[in-house]
């Protein structure tokens, strides 16, 4: 960023601090002190104990005794539920990428000129994005009962919020001149969007969809913990039975699948953009 700085003038506000270095120093010291004080207070409140951590690491054998040897008997059920998790992610990502098309158009201020519609859509999407995925899962599992359906709905809502933000921003940054030219030569709104906006945003749209699929794989593991099916449910069961060997096996499986899917999706995204 520093190379982009314009030449400062003496009246420029950003130049003023250089004239009085003590002010900058005092400001930085003050910020630093606030950070440290807040850190000490938070550490005290949350009971951070570095002794405990160091003791924990020196007693690593105790932890590894709990987590190892890993229990390979759980591998079969783990693979089955893993596929369930992947299916959940695929279905949720598919539906959210379909639904996000109209939503992102409504939430882009160069397409939706109606102030009220634009702001309402954005507000709803912003609120949706603040709700953690697990909380969504808790609510939908409560509504639909334990099982994959609640999980899929939760993932759908969760990824809709993320996608709507990313894609409406892409639509907003699209070049509007082709659209204007089309409108001028008599295209209707749908035609102008289909031939003027869609070709411009399609690569990003595909890339973001894959990105959301990646996020959904990870999120579907997590929401399984609250009873939304998939490998997360298996993990939570084994965790509550203190069956740590099995927990470690499942964590290894999750780790492997997340790495593999991220790698594949990364390669595809590189090829698209």
């Amino acid at each position: 960023m520093s190379n982009k700085m314009s030449k400062p003038t003496i009246y420029d506000d950003s130049y003023a601090p250089l004239l009085s270095p003590w002010r900058v120093k005092a400001k930085i010291t003050a910020i630093f002190l606030v950070i440290i004080i807040f850190l000490m207070f938070s550490s005290w409140r949350t009971g951070v104990d570095l002794n405990e951590l160091i003791w924990g690491f020196t007693n690593m054998t105790q932890i590894t005794d709990k987590l190892f040897p890993i229990n390979m008997a759980i591998l079969g059920p783990a693979m089955n539920t893993l596929f369930e998790t992947i299916h959940m992610a695929i279905i949720a990502s598919t539906f959210s990428t379909l639904i996000v098309i109209p939503v992102s158009l409504l939430a882009a201020n160069n397409i939706t000129t109606n102030w009220f519609v634009y702001n309402t859509t954005r507000l709803i999407m912003n609120v949706l994005r603040t709700i953690p995925d697990v909380v969504l899962a808790v609510i939908f599992v409560g509504l639909f009962g334990i099982g994959v359906f609640g999980g899929i709905v939760a993932l759908f809502i969760f990824s809709l919020g993320i996608l709507a933000k990313l894609i409406s921003e892409t639509v907003e940054s699209a070049d509007m001149q082709p659209v204007e030219a089309m409108r001028a030569s008599g295209a209707n709104t749908i035609q102008a969007i289909a031939y003027g906006v869609v070709p411009q945003v399609l690569p990003q749209f595909t890339s973001f969809s894959l990105y959301v699929f990646e996020i959904n794989i990870r999120a579907s593991v997590v929401i399984g913990l609250v009873g939304a099916g998939g490998i997360g449910s298996l993990l939570m069961d084994q965790f509550s039975f203190n069956n740590y060997g099995a927990v470690m096996t499942i964590i290894f499986v999750i780790f492997a699948v997340v790495i593999v899917i991220e790698y594949i999706s990364g390669k595809i995204r590189e090829a698209i953009i």
């Binding site: 807040f38 709700i131 994959v148």
Partner: protein
């Protein structure tokens, strides 16, 4: 409408075969997905009709009596996120330098650093929280460790990208003038990266607040503990209160962080 369209670009056979193969693969993926997922729609609808009247009205009438307790737990959550992301912001600096090719000048070290960082990023925070609850017991401290380790992966990657995009002319000029490594570090590199490092650290704090709201679900402290009890007690008006507090706090922190980041960069 009678004007002829411009001729279409000719496609090579290879391209056609490739597109066909991709289509087949995608269709196969969907067939596999929809064939093997088993959703009992009868039960879903039955559940929905019996639960809807109970869950939804209660969710939208938060239990205000629990507000002080919920707010106190939310403050603990923010503390967990704060300590965790501050620790991560510091741990990620050496890892970022390791993973930045122009800092180490070694393909091997840079790739090694990137592998460590993506390995760390593959763990969802709550899985790390489970590991740390096993290791240090069910305390907020386990949550802090989970947030610290979980954020290191992303922050390290972003730091490495910032470092790779700095102006190396400054570093070269300093080297030519006989500056040693430490001088180059403090006068050539750090001034260039500090604003972006800070901005990313604050951005990560924003994500961590969201992530740490759920850590309590596995016993790692914060408001997640209350989510767990509200769920197991089917206490939906408590859940509504928790949700309301989470939405407000996360929104406020988002706005504050966006404001601060705009000022820094």
């Amino acid at each position: 409408m009678s004007q002829p369209l411009p001729p279409k670009k000719p496609r090579s056979t290879k391209q056609i075969v490739r597109n066909f193969a991709i289509c087949i693969a995608i269709i196969a993926l969907y067939v596999w997905t929809f064939a093997s997922i088993n959703i009992d729609f009868g039960r879903v609808i039955e559940r929905l009709s019996s639960n809807f009247d109970r869950v939804i009205p209660q969710l939208f009438s938060p239990n205000w009596d629990r507000a002080p307790e919920v707010i106190e737990m939310m403050i603990e959550t923010i503390f967990i996120a704060y300590v965790g992301s501050l620790a991560a912001a510091i741990i990620a600096v050496p890892l970022g330098f390791l993973a930045a090719f122009n800092m180490t000048n070694s393909r091997f070290l840079a790739t090694f650093g990137k592998w460590i960082l993506s390995g760390v990023r593959a763990f969802p925070e709550i899985i790390l929280a489970i590991l740390f609850v096993v290791a240090v017991g069910p305390t907020p401290f386990a949550g802090i460790l989970a947030i610290a380790i979980g954020s290191t992966g992303m922050l390290g990657k972003l730091y490495a990208e910032v470092l790779e995009s700095i102006d190396m002319n400054v570093v070269e000029a300093m080297q030519a003038n006989g500056a040693n490594k430490i001088q180059i570090m403090f006068h050539g590199i750090i001034p260039q990266v500090i604003p972006e490092f800070l901005s990313y650290a604050i951005y990560r704090f924003e994500i961590d607040v969201r992530a740490s709201t759920i850590l309590g679900y596995v016993g790692a402290g914060g408001i997640g503990t209350m989510i767990f009890f509200a769920q197991s007690g089917r206490n939906w008006s408590d859940m509504g209160m928790i949700l309301l507090v989470i939405i407000i706090v996360v929104t406020v922190i988002d706005y504050a962080s966006t404001y601060i980041r705009k000022r820094i960069v």
